[in-house]
Structure formats: structure tokens, C-alpha cells
């Protein structure tokens, strides 16, 4: 009997609804297996609601508890847009990024494929199946920098992107290893080396170095602006993209859009060294406008649970969840208005079968 200790952070808005469906599917996985994998979840109420009620974002004691788990499942975090009592960055920096940084989630993994039945906004997207390996613990996301003479005509605000050989090399090596395991063996570095010469230099030098260890992986490079064009006009050219924290944020949202929407985009904040629990979350936000109405699509949360299973080494279970999602998507009627729980039930039902 393998017991997986899950820390569950449902979060705000539609977070709790979609997380419930992801957990439902995980329960079904456990029930359907002869080998007795069991999930035990502890729920942590963190997010806008808690902050607004108590002023707490992520108390150290809570972080210490979360750290004891095998993995983290997160729904979505974020309050109402424009809420003045919730300054931008409080939850993002204090909760989401703090978890990624403290738990050293240096591989932010974001697969993109056009699932059968999914509707791409592109007229002719072709066969799209790539994965973005986004650096998760440094780059422009460090919060380094500051501001002087704030609010005056002489204000100056800086933001410092920090890139270390240690940090870049480990994520680049992970991306190469993934490319090697995929059928096309291709890796594309996305950066802006012609302008960000310092940060671009370290990224391209390290990619060149690590490439010598993976002679069967074909490497190319695109400036982030050119990557935009290819994502819109020829997304099937991509296999593995490796990029920094900020470019990764931008590229993956565009990737989600062109593959049929943010309702399907899953992500893993992974520590491949397994010294800390990795965290799995849909790419979408908390969508407070439709919260509590059972209107949210839980598919991205369920696919994030599949990434969690894969990370735990339960590859066959991960595969069966993904297959269940594919089957469900293929049969979705256009304009279908199934409730959140109905979609979860349908997918869980297929996992059972």
C-alpha cells in the first residue's frame, strides 16, 4: 500500500470547484488500481480570501507543513481584478511564487497539445504537441530591484533579472533529457540574446555546452519575438522549448490559447531532485466572475493531476487520466454547457472503465 500525502490548496474563485474534480479523478484512480495506491489530502486555505480576512498570505508554519507532503495540488489564486484592498503581487509573490521559490520548483513544465475535439483559434494549426520547460526560480521573477522617490516625478524603478549558471544549467539539462525521450528529439531555446546580452549570453552558452552531452537532440534558437510568430503561424515546428521564467510565462499562455484555450492548459512546478514536494496547477486563473456557478472547465486541473501522477512515477495512471480527458474532449458537443462536476464525473467515469 502506497499512501500519497497530498497538500491541497484550492485557492480562490473557481479554484475550489476545479480542484474538487481533480481530486475526484485521483480518487477514481486509487479505487481502480489493484496495487492499492491511496491519496490522503490535507486542505490548506490560502489565497485572496484568507488574506482579506486575516492579512495572512503564507505563514511559515503552514509552509513547513506543506513541505512534509509528497505533492501539492493547487487550484487557482487571486482576488477580484481591481480590488484595492489586494495590491498586485501580494498573493502572486507571497504565495504562488514563494511556494515555487522556497520549494525550488526549478522546472515549470507546461505541455501543449491540440487535443481531439479542441478548437484552436488558428485556421490551420497542424499537429501541435510540444512542451515548454520554463525556468521557475530565477530570471526576472526574483523580485530583485526596487524603486526610489516613489510617486514623484523623479521616481526610478528597477527590476533585476538574475541568471546563474547553477540555475540555468539544471533546467537546460532537464529540458534536454525530456527532448531525448520524445520522438522528435528537438529543443528550441527561446530568449532575446540580441538585446539582453548578459542574460542571453549565459543561456545560450549553457545550451551549447549541455548540447554536447545530448548529440541526438537537434537544437535551435529563436528570439522571443520570432517565437511569437512561429507559435501563431507554425506551432507544429516545436517539440521542447526551454526558456526563462518571464518568456516562459508569455510563451505558455500563447501556447494555451492556440491549442484550444486556457481551460485545457496544465502545469507542473517540479523539483526533479524530489527533495521537496512538486506542485501541480492549471495555468488559468481564479476567474472570480464565474466562481461558484459550476461554469468552470475542470479539465486543466484534471490534466494537472495527471502530471502529478506522472511525477510520482504512476505513469500508467497518468496515461489513463489523459486518455479519459481525450475521450471526453472528443465527444464534447460544441457549445456544451455541462457543469463543472458533470465534466469531472464524465472524466472520472472513463478512468474507471
Amino acid at each position: 500500500m502506497q499512501t500519497v500525502q497530498l497538500a491541497v490548496i484550492p485557492g480562490d474563485g473557481i479554484g475550489p470547484e476545479v480542484t474538487a474534480e481533480a481530486l475526484k479523478v485521483l480518487e477514481q484512480v486509487a479505487a481502480g488500481r489493484g496495487d492499492g495506491v491511496k491519496f490522503e489530502s490535507t486542505r490548506y486555505d490560502l489565497g485572496a480570501e484568507r488574506y482579506l480576512a486575516t492579512g495572512e498570505v503564507l505563514p511559515d508554519a503552514v509552509l513547513a507543513e506543506i513541505r512534509q507532503h509528497d505533492a501539492i495540488l493547487l487550484g487557482a489564486v487571486g482576488g477580484r481584478p481591481g480590488d484595492k484592498s489586494l495590491p498586485p503581487g501580494i498573493l502572486e509573490r507571497g504565495l504562488l511564487l514563494r511556494l515555487r521559490f522556497e520549494l525550488d520548483h526549478y522546472v515549470n513544465l507546461r505541455p501543449s497539445r491540440i487535443y481531439p475535439g479542441a478548437v484552436s483559434p488558428l485556421a490551420d494549426p497542424g499537429e501541435v504537441d510540444f512542451v515548454v520547460v520554463r525556468e521557475g526560480t530565477e530570471g526576472p521573477y526574483t523580485g530583485n530591484g526596487g524603486a526610489l522617490r516613489v510617486g514623484t516625478p523623479h521616481e526610478i524603478a528597477t527590476e533585476v533579472s538574475v541568471n546563474t549558471a547553477f540555475g540555468v544549467e539544471r533546467v537546460v539539462r532537464d529540458a534536454f533529457a525530456r527532448a531525448q525521450k520524445r520522438p522528435r528529439h528537438k529543443l528550441t531555446l527561446v530568449h532575446k540574446t540580441n538585446v539582453l546580452v548578459h542574460a542571453g549570453g549565459i543561456w545560450s552558452r549553457i545550451v551549447d555546452q549541455v548540447a554536447t552531452e545530448f548529440p541526438d537532440v537537434a537544437v535551435d534558437y529563436l528570439h522571443v519575438d520570432a517565437a511569437m510568430i512561429f507559435l501563431a503561424t507554425d506551432p507544429s515546428r516545436f517539440d521542447v522549448i526551454v526558456t526563462d521564467n518571464l518568456f516562459g510565462d508569455i510563451v505558455t499562455d500563447l501556447a494555451a490559447a492556440i491549442t484550444g484555450g486556457i481551460g485545457l492548459a496544465a502545469s507542473g512546478n517540479v523539483n526533479p531532485d524530489r527533495t521537496t514536494p512538486s506542485m501541480f496547477e492549471p495555468v488559468h486563473g481564479s476567474a472570480p466572475d464565474i466562481a461558484g456557478q459550476q461554469k468552470a472547465d475542470p479539465t486543466a486541473a484534471i490534466l494537472s493531476a495527471a502530471l502529478l501522477l506522472e511525477h510520482l512515477g504512476l505513469d500508467d495512471a497518468a496515461h489513463s487520466v489523459e486518455e479519459a480527458v481525450v475521450a471526453d474532449l472528443a465527444e464534447r458537443a460544441p457549445g456544451s454547457t455541462r457543469r463543472t462536476s458533470e465534466i469531472g464525473d464524465a472524466i472520472a467515469g472513463r478512468v474507471a472503465g
Copy 2:
């Protein structure tokens, strides 16, 4: 008789070919006018070729000469990808960005519309007609930062985004003024305030401040990742976008892609105070693979010349060039293989008419 002194930098690759067509159209504009506007151009050979031959990028004396002109027309700059004798950044930082920074081109203007006949990769783009006002003289493009222990396992490389109230306010005010003149009166700030809290703070505070001077302009805000999604799924929602130098680079290439290609995207590097010559250039690169073969589409260069005319106050001439382009595009046969000069002739011919 108004004589416009043009500094022409044809540059590399397809640059000279497309610039020739833009000049052809300007000649036609001059010939067709009763009021005797005249263009006198001085050609400056700058770019990869000159650098590889002489080691010179932008000699101070050349910059001083260029500064004496009324406007600059630039083709494209950049050598063969992967050319080891041309390290990334040399031309971009040393020539293109140096011109933008030294000539204080703080408004990087990039209109995006789907022209009649243009083929968008989006299945259903809707009516797209927006303009990106990209900051051109600070942000992550300053080159601030550096690297320590380069090439060792202990390397650290930083890149500093510098944002000043002076720099942000003037470009934001310009963007509001443009929004006020457009029929929809709408301005969208694109940034990443929830992560880049220092830089994001100054941008959103200044937008809020300047907004009070333009009560009839509706303001909204999007994180850059969300902007990706809207550009791919609902680009008609945009009117004026104001954003920083790096986000602007990314957003405008995606905008070019979804509106039918980089072959049509024009840009102006504008100093609205007119204390220096503004510079007009297509968004596309030098495309060395098709250089010298008359395969390049000069439309983006010609539309950049239209922006130049507008900047010089020759609004009716600018309009007639744009109309000529629209008429030409509307009649382009799909898969047409007209030569660069044929397209230029066709558009120039319509300007005459």
C-alpha cells in the same frame, strides 16, 4: 518648396531591396504633389556588411551627420543567423538600439490592422485595427546589468530594467493623446504588475495619473500573458496598447503575425518633440536567406514610409500611400510571386493615380 532631408540606412539582406521600393513610393508622392515637396536622401552604409568589413558599427561622426536630417528610413539590419564573427547584440545594441536611444525615440509606434486581402492565421480574427505605443528608450533594453565569472559554473548574469517617471510618463501621455484621437478612445496598459512589482508599480501609477487628464479615454489593464490570449482569440478588443520596451517587442510581433504577417508590419521610432530625426523601419528582419532575389515583400517598408510622411505632417500623402497599399493588397492573387520591384511599382503607380 519643402525639402525633406532623409537619411537612408538600407542595411543588410533584403533591406536595400525593400528600401528602394519605399523611396520609389516617396519619389512618386513628391512628383504627384503640386506644392513641391522634395525628398533628398543621403545613404549610409551601416549594418552587418560594414561591420564585417571594417569593424565599424556606428561611428560617432556618422551619427552626428544622421542627426542633421529630417527623418531616417531604415531597411533592416542583421547578418546570417549563427555567423560566429557577428556576436548577438553587436548590431542590435550598437546600431539599431543606439540610434533609438541617442535620438531619444521614446515612442515606438506600431500600428496593426488586418488589411483587405491580408490572410490572418486566425480562423476568425474580426475587425482588427489597433496601435501599439511601445516605450523605446528604457525598460529592459537599457543594457544595464552584467555578468561575473563568465563561462564558469559560478557565473551570474543580470539584466536590469530601468523605468523612470520621466520616461514612462511621456510615452503614456503620447499613447493617451493617440487614443483620444481615435474613434474608440480606448487604452490598454500591458505589463506584468503582479510579478514585476517595482516596474509594474510605476507604470500603473502613471497610467492612473495621466488618465485623469483624458477623462474620455477608457483605460484597462492586462498582464502580458493574458494579452497573449486576447491577441490570439479576440484581437479586435484592442485600440491603443501602451507597454514597455520588451513587452512591446513581443506584443508587436504577435500582432504582426495575426494580422497577416510580418511582411506588412511597419514601425516608427518617434521623437514626438521633434528635437531629433525620427526613424521609420519595417518590423521584419534582414532575411538573408532570400536577400538579393527580389523575393521580399516591400509593403512593410512602404507603410513605414507612410508613417514617415504622417510624422512630417504630410497627412494626405501618408493617407494616399496607405490607400495605395490597401488597393494593391486587395487585388493580390493568393500565392502571387510578384518581384519586390513589381510590388513597389504597382503601389507607386496607385499613388500617382
